[in-house]
Symmetry: C2
Subunit: 161 residues, 2 copies
């Protein structure tokens, strides 16, 4: 009922990209809060996995450029995929794979939350660019910027597990 | 101990990409089996999330090309990131977020498993290409090929949960 109402709404407004986005996002947000929380917890596991691979490659005896490109590409694509929609209203509390580790302050942070997401998107995109060069020092420096972005958000908005 | 041995091994072999890959993958495989299983379960949640977004976009009253590009790009990047390493020896049984749903037959499938992974990588890459056009019918057709790839593997190698 809720889904079909949103589709109807999008259809009535029709035509603009905004309406289309509203329609798709509304349907996505109509997923159960626990599903959205599970998805976002999975997204951050994938971010952790891919970051870990870049870190291992930077520490390895022989630098594996292809490994870093693959990991960074997945990291950036996920970071740029619209994670914000997984923090929809109604997901401030609840359990996905485990109780949400996002502090209530994050949901109240407004444009600050958007700014953090934008930083992650930008720095990971830059990592892909640098990964495609053979400048390992530059990859290391840029990877530092990515993890600093992670840490800034964790420090302020992640509950210590 | 196991990690440093592998790094040493890579260092001794040195120089070739193969050695570098072996070093990085060996370190990654040195992660606990439950961590690898948790990562792969997370990867498939992200694949499910992004596929769901493409499906919703195709069903919406107004087609949102940008939404499909973002979802398909994340889907393809994750599918091409080297998921195979998350099915390392030692992960045939065990619990990540939940008991593994991968049948033992998958680990014994050898080149067949690699072929399935290759199909997913290829079809999702093609989806990104088509998503960047405005040919919605072509997106729908290609998305059908992606989900057929998922289904083929699930039918043979996924335990019904």
């Amino acid at each position: 009922m809720r889904k079909s109402h949103q589709v109807l709404l999008a259809s009535v407004i029709g035509g603009s990209l905004l309406a289309a986005s509203a329609g798709v996002y509304a349907q996505q947000a109509a997923a159960k809060p626990e599903t959205l929380i599970k998805w976002r917890q999975s997204v951050f596991q994938v971010i952790g996995w891919t970051c870990g691979r870049v870190k291992l490659a930077l520490e390895a005896a022989v630098y594996d450029k292809d490994e870093v490109i693959k990991a960074a590409t997945a990291l950036a694509a996920v970071s740029n995929s619209g994670i914000g929609s997984l923090f929809a209203a109604g997901t401030e509390q609840g359990k996905g794979w485990h109780d949400t580790a996002t502090k209530p302050e994050f949901f109240a942070a407004g444009s600050k939350a958007g700014e953090i997401a934008g930083n992650l998107a930008r720095e990971t995109n830059e990592l892909v660019k640098v990964a495609n060069t053979s400048d390992v020092a530059a990859v290391k420096a840029q990877f530092g910027k990515v993890t600093a972005t992670c840490k800034a958000c964790h420090d302020d908005y992640r509950i210590k597990l």
